[in-house]
Subunit: 195 residues, 2 copies
Amino acid sequence: MARKQGSHAGVTGPKVRAAALRLIARYGYAAVSMRQIAAAVGVQAGALYNYTPDKQSLLFDLMHSHMVALLDALDGANLQGSPLQQLEQFTRFHIRFHLPRADDVFVSYMELRNLSEQNFAKIEALRHAYEDRLEAILKAGQDTGDFAVPDTRITTMALIAMLTGLEKWYRSDGRLGVAEIEGMYWDLVRKAVAA
Amino acid sequence: MARKQGSHAGVTGPKVRAAALRLIARYGYAAVSMRQIAAAVGVQAGALYNYTPDKQSLLFDLMHSHMVALLDALDGANLQGSPLQQLEQFTRFHIRFHLPRADDVFVSYMELRNLSEQNFAKIEALRHAYEDRLEAILKAGQDTGDFAVPDTRITTMALIAMLTGLEKWYRSDGRLGVAEIEGMYWDLVRKAVAA
DNA sequence: GTCTATAGCGGGATAGAC
DNA sequence: GTCTATCCCGCTATAGAC
């Protein structure tokens, strides 16, 4: 509470990010203007530049935060046990982490084209690191004979695409709860890689 | 050959569509200008309006053509045999149809947000029809006991997401040929739905 | 069917007052 | 930290000559 009275620091910044995330997820980065974001926050367009040097940096920050949060959460999940157990933990973690973050997922997977070359490389590296976690589990299970997949890299991409595709149709007010969804997807994953 | 000499009709139109498809796939609908498309074709921007009433219609035509071609090709594939055989045929058909059409796939799956409400509804109906073909196979196999999936609708979405995700990483000059890819994905699909 | 020219609008980003 | 005002640019779409 030592913050200066009347200052909006620490309040407007997150609001800008939240508004940008929501608008970009809905309409796309190129289609959303700084004026629209400002209006959603309740400020004039010029004020946004107190929080981001430019529009491109704003997009990058959103995507970077999402990927870092994803990797941190995966570290925190502390997967352990047999390859089969770790694969189940990974599957459930992936669904639980992504389902409540539909906007982040849409932005992070659909706006890659709109990143500058350097920003793209950074995001891709993080995404690759995440994929590698899954592939390591598949490789371990392949070695122990628990799994029998045609190719660990291709299976990694196939499983992540399958799990992430969930975002496209899942509605939290639908007929199925998260726990049921998790169970069904785990069932598909488990059988697909089974020896 | 009765076409008037000096007329570009029948030539420029397809060029416009091809250039628009390529540019939109790469940079996104909102980020591509009519001037860019015109430059790629080799005409001035105003000339494009001889081939489309506006930019939105151009996008819709690209997506609509793709979906109609997909459904027509599926009809032409004439799937038959047991549910297991039909599922294999569908899986291989899906991969063979989509792999050489990366631009169409990107546009059709990433530009839905940029369609007008009415155009969106038409494309969604076509996409739904395609999904229904796969779900019908799963239901049939569920009835005969060949398959044991948790939910035919969810499995449909999961399998299509998995198969379409192939577009994101496949490179025709990579280490794997189409036949090998088909085999690996069919392996994953077959096991995932197995009883 | 294509061109040039332009209307009319909205974009990102900055300057300087408060 | 936010405002107003503005610069400069590019956009879609149209008009009218050829």
